[in-house]
Symmetry: C2
Subunit: 176 residues, 2 copies
């Protein structure tokens, strides 16, 4: 199972591709950022983000999008502009048939560190441990994308309707 994690942003969108076939042993496949041109108008930057996400999906064929939720607000305008970026990312995932999962920032910290109020440094430390990396993925936006991907693999989830509708074999378990 390959998960595409995204930290959306109009200037820099971070992403991480994490493979999680065996429980407890997720591996980092790739991470990076999509940078847009600051002087370009918003619509042009949205197209850059959309094209970048489509390219990553076409190349790596992830089946899950795990994306940070943005429904908090320090600055309404920033949050609304971020909503535009998030819209085109979700569109790209939907068009390519990915299952989409959204997590609030606190849920990502809770899944990775075990504490919803963890610091950025604690999240980065746990990322390197969980993925057995020699250093923190850089820049930090890429690292945030990796954290979102890892959250999907680590966060407890209820069995989905799809998994429940599969006939159970004796001794088999529901869920992953």
């Amino acid at each position: 199972m390959l998960v595409l994690g995204i930290d959306p942003g109009t200037a820099i969108t971070g992403y991480g591709l994490v493979r999680g076939d065996r429980p407890g042993a997720p591996t980092l496949v790739e991470c990076g950022v999509i940078r847009t041109h600051a002087r370009e108008p918003l619509a042009s930057r949205l197209a850059e983000i959309y094209d970048g996400i489509c390219q990553i999906i076409s190349e790596h064929r992830p089946t899950i999008l795990s994306i940070e939720d943005v429904f908090y607000s320090r600055n309404v305008r920033t949050t609304v502009v971020l909503g535009h970026a998030r819209g085109v990312i979700m569109l790209a995932a939907q068009q390519h048939g990915l299952a989409i999962h959204e997590y609030p920032p606190a849920a990502i910290k809770k899944a990775v560190v075990g504490n919803g109020a963890a610091t950025k440094e604690q999240v980065q430390f746990m990322l390197t441990r969980l993925l057995r990396l020699k250093s923190v993925p850089s820049p930090s936006d890429a690292s945030d994308g990796v954290a979102a991907a890892l959250t999907y693999l680590l966060a407890p989830r209820l069995p989905t309707i799809a998994s429940l509708s599969r006939p159970l074999q004796p001794g088999s378990q529901v869920g992953r």
Copy 2:
């Protein structure tokens, strides 16, 4: 010149196509709404909106997108979700090469009625007069799309860099 005006929304996106070749005589070409399925997840609704806008653009070939600005906030969550819809609409316009113009709600009222604090009824009354219609475009979301399109044709604009960079002929005027 054919202008596509949009009133964005995740449940109902209104649109209006207004032709404005001669100053002072704009004509309504078509208006309507894109309705999305309320039970579908957001990503699926965004794809419905995106597909709908692409279809309208492909069919009518407008060169301008005029869209209501959403950077005000009664309810932050609603405004942010609206940002997602607006993002995929701007993406569709950008991909089809339309020039994109954004107007705050007060600028639309000001352009159509002459008063930035006009009521919805006043806007609708002026729409029917300016476009010589027998009745108000319905539903009201379609009517709001028409108002956005008309705003581009009526609002005073400074000459654009593109129009200024064209060599001026003796006696020619800058702008439309």
